[in-house]
Structure formats: C-alpha cells, structure tokens
C-alpha cells in the first residue's frame, strides 16, 4: 500500500482499488454525466486534476493541520481547486463546460476526493500523494470513459459526438451509426445498468484470473510433490 512507485500504484488505482468500481465512491457524477464518451473524458480529466492537486496540497500542509480541523481544511482546498478548474473550463472549453453543467462544481462533493485526502494524502509525503492522486484519478476517469463509451455506443448509436467540445472548434466530430439507439441506456436507469455490468465484468475477470492462478499453482505443487 505504501509503495509509491508509479506502475504498481497505477495498477492499484485502475483495477484493484478502482474508486468507482471497487470503492463505489463518487457515483453521483459517474452516473449522471456518462451519457457520451466526450462528457466522460471531460469530467474524468477534471476529477483527475482536482484529485492530484488536492492530494498534493493536503500532503504538503499535513504537518500543520491539527486533526480537529482537518475536514474544513480539506473542504477549503478542494472547493478552491474545483472553482479554479471550473473557471479554466469556462475559459478554454466553454461548450464542454455547458455540457457538464452543474457536475463540474459538484466535483467538490465527490467523496472519492475527500476519501483520498483523509486515507492517503494526510499520512504520506507529497510525491507519493501525487502519484496516488494520479493513479486513483486515472482509475476514475477510465471508468467514466468506459461507461460513457458503452452508453453512447448503444444508447445514441454514435461515438465521440461533440468531439469539438474538447478541441474547441471545427474538425472531427465523431461518428453517428444510426438514428437513436436503446433509449433506456441514456435515461438514468441505464447508468445503473451500465455500472452494474462494469462491476460484474470486473468481478468475472478477477475470478477467472484467480482460478487460472490457482490451477497453475496446484499443478506446479503436484509436479514438485
């Protein structure tokens, strides 16, 4: 857990302890904005940024923070960072900002961020905390993208529509395969189904991997015995 090398931590954040899939944190934005892949990318990037910097700031100030007032301080730090990123989005990605709407300011309430500040950044050095923020943020962002991709592909029958919201201007603007898809997936219940499928898929893959490892282990045991 305290290993601060990038690769194992990244693997941990993306797969083993994925904040969305395993810890089930920050579900509100995850379920709400993932109607398209571009939305998922946008909110994923914003969350990744906030998580990394809040971890860095919390970790940098951890020696001076008395435990009684730590929560208000985390809230202060996170709220300021979110306000900054909201301003940046409004200035450079105005259409994306409008598409994500209230969910940019609502990153403040993403419990994944407070959780990482409390569990990790308040007890570890700055470098390790930044790596932790990057790893957990990447895990969260990837999950947003996977669910966004799934819901857009089957719900809208399109892919990467409104891509210009990220590039800001003309150019490639996604593919549309058909006029409308499975409406259910775009509506709120579809978000829950998509998340459930993602969690189920992860568990299934984990079980398969474990079984493969176990049979491998028994075989080698038999051979040696």
């Amino acid at each position: 857990m305290n290993d601060d090398r990038l690769w194992p931590k990244l693997k941990n954040g993306v797969w083993k302890d994925n904040p969305g899939l395993v810890q089930l944190l920050g579900l509100c934005p995850l379920l709400a904005v993932t109607t398209t892949l571009v939305n998922g990318i946008g909110l994923g990037m914003a969350t990744l940024f906030v998580l990394t910097f809040s971890n860095a700031l919390v970790s940098a100030t951890r020696r001076w923070i008395l435990s009684e007032i730590r929560i208000p301080i985390y809230v202060l730090i996170i709220a300021s960072l979110v306000t900054c990123i909201e301003l940046v989005f409004k200035a450079w990605f105005p259409t994306l900002d409008r598409s994500l709407g209230i969910f940019i300011p609502l990153i403040v309430t993403n419990c994944a961020i407070v959780a990482r500040a409390e569990i990790y950044a308040s007890k570890n050095p700055v470098g390790a905390s930044i790596v932790d923020g990057l790893a957990m943020g990447t895990g969260f962002a990837l999950l947003l993208m996977v669910i966004g991709l799934f819901r857009e592909l089957f719900g809208h029958a399109s892919l990467l529509t409104d891509f210009t919201m990220l590039t800001g201007g003309e150019g490639f603007n996604g593919f549309v395969f058909a006029d409308g898809g499975l409406l259910l997936l775009i509506l709120p219940p579809g978000a829950f189904f998509a998340l459930a499928l993602a969690v189920a898929a992860k568990n299934a893959i984990d079980r398969k991997l474990r079984r493969a490892r176990n049979t491998g282990a028994t075989r080698s045991l038999r051979r040696s015995g």
């Binding site: 008395l66 009684e68 007032i69 301003l87 200035a91 105005p94 409308g180």
Partner: protein, 212 residues
C-alpha cells in the same frame, strides 16, 4: 491558558489556508475573466444567429437587448428578452427569448426570430428538460422539427391553425410526444401576436443597460 492555545492555533491555520486558497482562486479568475466574458458574448451572438436564417443585418446583436420584466403579455412568467436587429439603421427583425411554461418536464426556453412582416425567420430551443429521445427532438440537432416554422406568420396559417395537427392545427407534432411541441407552438403563437400588437414600441424603446 493551555486550553486556549490550540484554538488560536487552529484558527490561525484555518485563516492562513483560507487566504492561500482564496488567492489561488483570485489569481485564476484574473487570468480567465476576459476569456470567459468573450466566450459568453460569442456564445450569445452564435446562439442568436440560427433564428435569423440568412437575413441581412449589420448591427451588433447583443447591444440592442431589451429586457421585459414580468408581468408581461409574452409567454412565460420570467424575464423575456428582445434583441432588435437593424440593417443600415433600419429595423429588420426582432429576436425573442421567451419561456413556454407548460412543457412536459418544466419550462422550455425558446429563441424566436421574426422579421418586420411578422414572418418567422427561425426558431431554436435554448433550454429544456424534455425526455431524451422523445420530447428533446424539438432541438435542431436531434430532428428537423423546428425547420417547419420559418416562412410562416400569424396570418399564415392563421391564429386558429397555429397548433399541432393533433389539436386540429397545421404543424407536425413528434412521435411519442405531443405535450412538448404543443407548448412550443403555443408560445410561438403568443409571441407572434405580441409582436404584431407591439411592434412600434419594441423598436422605440431604449436598450436595457447591463446591471453589472
């Protein structure tokens, strides 16, 4: 004495961190404010454009704004906006931003362009919360529904026929959604009637200054 010190220390820490965070936000604001204002203005001009179709005009769209505070005879209970469009100093059209309040899922904000003869130049939906896949087809990006209106005026097809087909009118509804188009069509009709009755005062009124 010993009891008071930690409180002082906590307070000082909190104040210091608050000061740092506030300056961070202030700094970001300082570097983004101009860009954000420019974006907002560009967005406004850009969003008003489709309601004018290919009408020639040479006035800045956003400087001619008239804010009509409620209560007023236009659709909706909230503030209505009117943008006056000129070509070589002569009025050529008016853009209305009004609210259709009886949408399926709350109010629908509409942008409607009308030329001096009362003919619709274009209509767009600015804000809505209609059902995705059904009522949201009123948005130009999702279907051609809004494109049936340009060219019509309150005398063509006439007040009674300014309704969707299901209500005996002239205009197409949407499959699976009639509440939404009904609300929009009704708001358009009321706006056209208002324009016909108040055309002169609209163009005589001075522009509303920004409160900021």
């Amino acid at each position: 004495m010993t009891g008071r010190l930690p409180i002082l220390k906590s307070g000082a820490t909190l104040a210091a961190i608050a000061a740092i965070c506030t300056s961070l936000v202030a700094l970001t604001y300082h570097y983004t404010a101009d860009r954000i204002a420019a974006n907002d203005k560009a967005l406004l001009e850009q969003s008003l454009q489709p309601a004018l179709s290919d009408l020639f005009f040479d006035s800045g769209v956003s400087e001619s704004r008239l804010v009509v505070a409620p209560p007023h005879e236009l659709p909706g209970d909230d503030e209505a906006l009117i943008y006056r469009i000129y070509a070589q100093g002569k009025p050529v059209a008016a853009l209305f931003v009004v609210t259709a309040k009886d949408g399926f899922a709350g109010p629908i904000r509409i942008l409607l362009g009308v030329d001096m003869q009362g003919v619709v130049t274009g209509i767009r939906i600015l804000q809505h919360r209609e059902t995705p896949g059904l009522g949201d087809k009123i948005v130009s990006r999702r279907s051609d529904w809004v494109h049936q209106f340009p060219g019509h005026s309150i005398h063509d097809p006439g007040v009674e026929d300014w309704a969707i087909r299901r209500d005996g009118g002239q205009f197409d509804q949407l499959t699976g959604a009639s509440v939404t188009p009904r609300a929009v069509v009704k708001a358009m009709r009321d706006t056209l009637l208002y324009f016909e009755a108040h055309q002169e005062e609209i163009f005589a009124a001075p522009a509303t200054e920004d409160a900021t």
